[in-house]
C-alpha cells in the first residue's frame, strides 16, 4: 500500500481545492512574473547582442560610444552630427579596412526608419551568428528611387515588390513634410532577421540626396520644385553620412584603426567596438535589471508568505484531524510530512502553472512585443538561468513549508490525543 501521507495530503488539498487553487494561482503569477522578467532580460540582451556581428567598428561623429551604437545600429535616438563624406572615403581607404558601409539616417516612412546606405549593406551586414540578410522577394536596390523594405514594414502595410512608397522628412511618426514628389519603388522585401533592419526601409545614399535636393534645413525651398525625372542632372553624390559600419581585414588591427579614427585630424570622430560597447550598455542597464528582478523576487516572497498563511490558518481547524491521525498510528514525523508536503505540492503546482502561464503569455504577446518594440521573446523551455530561479523559488518554498509543518509537529506532540477545537 502507498504511503498514507501521500493520499491524505492529496485528499486534504482536494477538499480545500478553492483555497488551494487560489494559493497556487498567486504563486503561479509570482513565478510567471519572476521568470518573465528574467526571460525579457535575457532575450533583450540576446536580441541586442545578435543584432550586429561581423562588424569590427562603428564610426560616427564624436560622442558617447553607447549613444553612437544605439542610433546607428539599433535606431534608438538620433545623431547629433554627421561624418563628412571625404572622411568616410578616407577611412574606407585605410590599409587595414576591408569594407565600409555608410549609413544615412534621418528620414522615415510611416513611423519606420529610412536608412540610406550602399548595396554593400546587404553583403556585409551580419546578425546572430554571422547570418546575412536574406530576401523574401526581389533584390537589393539598384536605381535611384528604389527601396528595400524590412519584414516588419512589409507585414504591417502589406507591401510587395513593385509598390510605391513615400518617404517623410524627419524620424518621428508620420511626417507632415512628405517627400511625396519623389516616391520610391519597392524592389525587395527582406526576410525577418529579428534586428532593427526588420523595421527599416533601405534606400541608396543617392536616393536620400535626391529627395533633399530642393530642401534646406528641414523644409522645402519655397518656389523650388525639382521633379523626380530632373533630379538626376544634379550632383547626387553623398555629402555626408550619419555613421558607418567598418570591417577589417584582420581583427588584430582593430585597436590600431580605432585609435586612428578617434584621433582623426580633419573632424572629431568616434569609433567603437560593438561588443565592448554593448557590454558598457549592460553595465548601465544592469542596475535597472537587478531592481526589476529584486521586485519580482519580492513578489514571489509575498506569494509564498500567503501560502504559509493559508496553510497555517487551516492548521487551526485541523488540530482535531491531526490528533485523530495520531490516534490511528501517525507519528509526529508523519504529521510534519503531511503539512510540509502540502505546502510543497502547492508551491510546485504554482511553479508549473507559472511556467505555463509564462508560455501562454509569451505566445499571446510575443508577436506584438516583437513588432512594436523589436523585442523577440523566446517561447522556449525555461533556460538554465530560469531553472535556477525556479530552484530558488522551490528552495524558498521548502523553507517556508517548514513553518506550518513545525507548528503541526509541535501541536501533535503537545496535544497528544487531546482533541482541541
Amino acid at each position: 500500500m502507498k504511503s498514507p501521507i501521500w493520499q491524505l495530503t492529496w485528499r486534504s488539498l482536494l477538499n480545500r481545492r478553492l483555497t488551494a487553487l487560489l494559493t497556487v494561482i498567486s504563486v503561479a503569477l509570482a513565478v510567471a512574473l519572476l521568470l518573465g522578467v528574467e526571460r525579457l532580460r535575457h532575450d533583450a540582451r540576446a536580441g541586442f547582442a545578435s543584432t550586429i556581428s561581423g562588424t569590427d567598428l562603428v564610426v560616427g561623429a564624436r560622442g558617447g560610444s553607447v549613444q553612437l551604437l544605439l542610433y546607428s545600429v539599433f535606431h534608438i535616438g538620433n545623431a547629433t552630427n554627421n561624418v563628412s563624406w571625404p572622411s568616410i572615403e578616407r577611412i574606407a581607404a585605410l590599409p587595414d579596412v576591408d569594407w565600409l558601409v555608410p549609413l544615412s539616417l534621418g528620414d522615415s516612412h510611416r513611423g519606420f526608419r529610412v536608412v540610406g546606405t550602399t548595396a554593400g549593406f546587404f553583403e556585409h551586414y551580419r546578425h546572430g551568428r554571422g547570418q546575412a540578410l536574406r530576401f523574401a522577394d526581389g533584390q537589393p536596390f539598384g536605381g535611384l528611387f528604389e527601396a528595400v523594405v524590412g519584414a516588419e514594414v512589409a507585414a504591417r502595410f502589406g507591401y510587395r515588390v513593385g509598390q510605391r512608397i513615400v518617404v517623410s522628412h524627419g524620424a518621428g511618426g508620420t511626417g507632415f513634410a512628405e517627400h511625396d514628389d519623389k516616391p520610391f519603388t519597392i524592389v525587395g522585401v527582406l526576410e525577418r532577421s529579428g534586428t532593427p533592419v526588420d523595421r527599416s526601409v533601405l534606400v541608396s545614399l543617392e536616393g536620400i540626396e535626391a529627395i533633399h535636393v530642393d530642401w534646406v534645413g528641414g523644409a522645402r525651398l519655397p518656389g523650388v520644385n525639382i521633379a523626380a525625372e530632373h533630379v538626376r542632372k544634379f550632383d547626387l553624390s553623398p555629402k555626408s553620412a550619419t555613421a558607418a559600419l567598418v570591417g577589417l581585414k584582420s581583427r588584430v588591427a582593430v585597436f590600431r584603426v580605432q585609435r586612428q579614427i578617434n584621433n582623426w585630424s580633419e573632424e572629431p570622430l568616434t569609433a567603437v567596438l560593438p561588443g565592448a560597447t554593448l557590454q558598457e550598455l549592460w553595465n548601465v542597464v544592469a542596475v535597472a535589471e537587478r531592481a526589476l528582478l529584486a521586485v519580482s523576487a519580492l513578489v514571489v516572497a509575498v506569494g509564498l508568505a500567503g501560502l504559509v498563511a493559508v496553510v497555517i490558518a487551516s492548521l487551526g481547524e485541523r488540530r482535531r484531524e491531526l490528533a485523530i491521525l495520531r490516534s490511528l498510528g501517525a507519528s509526529p514525523g508523519q504529521v510534519f510530512r503531511l503539512l510540509a508536503l502540502e505546502s510543497l505540492l502547492l508551491s510546485l503546482a504554482g511553479c508549473i502553472l507559472g511556467i505555463l502561464l509564462l508560455s501562454a503569455t509569451v505566445a499571446a504577446v510575443g508577436p506584438w512585443l516583437e513588432s512594436a518594440h523589436g523585442l523577440p521573446l523566446s517561447a522556449d523551455w525555461p533556460s538554465l538561468a530560469e531553472w535556477r530561479l525556479l530552484g530558488a523559488v522551490l528552495g524558498a518554498a521548502l523553507l517556508a513549508s517548514l513553518v506550518p509543518a513545525w507548528r503541526a509537529y509541535r501541536h501533535s506532540l503537545a496535544d497528544g490525543m487531546t482533541i482541541r477545537i
Partner: protein
C-alpha cells in the same frame, strides 16, 4: 501474542503536563484483562483523555510502567510506539472524529494504511481490507451507499458507527472509546453501545470505555471510577 497477557497493565504511573507543578495522574496499579470490557468513569477534567494518551503511547509517563498486550511501551522508541498503537489499539472519540475529507470507506480503511499488522490479520482471516470494511459497515447498520459519501456529510450517529468500524478493522486486541456516545441522544446511545459491545465481543477485543455518564455502566464486566484509581483526581477535578 499470548492471550494471557492483559490488554492494559499500569503500574506506579505518574504524569504531569509540562509546565504544571503538580501531576495530573498518579495511578498505583490498573489492569484490563484480554477481552475484558471495562467502564471507566470520571468527571470531565479528571485526566481521562490524558490516561488514554498514555495507554496509546502518545504521551510518555514521568514515572511508572504502561504495558499494552504484554508490551512495555516505555521499551519502544517513539516511532515503534506509533506503529504499535496503529497495530494494537482502535480508538473511538467523541463527536467528529472522522477525517472530514475522506469518504466513510477511506476513514474505515485508514488504520490499515498505517498498520501492516492489521492488514496481515485481515489477510490471515482470508479477506481484504475493502471487503472487511464493507462487512463491518454492514454489521454496524451502515448502508453500502453511504460508504462513498464524504464523512462530513454523514449524520452524527452514522459518523460514530464509521468511527467504530475504523477502530475495529483488522481486529486490534484493544479498543478504547473516549466519550463516544456523548453527542448522541439517549436511544442512539444505547444502540451504539450495544453495537460496540457486540463487535468487540465478536472480535475478541478488550474494551476500555470512558465516560462521565454512569448510566451506561450496567453493560460492562467491570466498572472503575477514575477517582479511585487516580490519587490526584480530587485535586484535578
Amino acid at each position: 501474542m499470548s492471550t494471557a497477557a492483559p490488554a492494559v497493565a499500569l503500574r506506579g504511573l505518574r504524569f504531569a503536563w509540562p509546565g504544571t507543578p503538580r501531576p495530573c495522574l498518579e495511578i498505583d496499579a490498573f489492569e484490563l484483562a484480554a477481552g475484558e470490557r471495562v467502564f471507566l468513569h470520571g468527571p470531565s477534567g479528571s485526566g481521562k483523555t490524558t490516561l488514554l494518551s498514555l495507554i496509546g503511547g502518545v504521551l510518555d509517563p514521568d514515572a511508572g510502567h504502561v504495558a499494552v498486550h504484554g508490551q512495555e511501551l516505555g521499551a519502544l522508541h517513539a516511532g515503534a510506539r506509533d506503529r504499535f498503537r496503529a497495530d494494537h489499539i482502535g480508538f473511538v472519540f467523541q463527536l467528529f472524529n472522522l477525517i472530514p475529507y475522506l469518504s466513510a470507506r477511506d476513514n474505515i480503511l485508514l488504520p490499515c494504511r498505517f498498520s501492516r499488522a492489521r492488514r496481515a490479520r485481515i489477510a490471515a482471516a482470508g479477506g481484504d481490507p475493502a471487503a472487511e470494511a464493507a462487512r463491518l459497515a454492514a454489521r454496524l447498520d451502515l448502508q453500502a451507499a453511504l460508504l462513498d459519501h464524504p464523512a462530513a456529510e454523514l449524520s452524527v450517529g452514522q459518523q460514530q458507527r464509521v468511527a467504530a468500524a475504523r477502530a475495529l478493522i483488522g481486529r486490534p486486541p484493544l479498543v478504547i472509546a473516549d466519550e463516544p456516545t456523548s453527542a448522541l441522544d439517549a436511544d442512539r446511545q444505547r444502540g451504539f453501545l450495544d453495537l460496540l459491545l457486540a463487535e468487540c465481543a465478536q472480535a475478541g477485543a478488550a474494551l476500555l470505555f470512558v465516560s462521565h455518564d454512569g448510566r451506561l455502566a450496567e453493560h460492562f464486566d467491570r466498572v472503575v471510577a477514575l477517582g479511585e484509581l487516580n490519587r490526584v483526581a480530587g485535586e484535578a477535578a
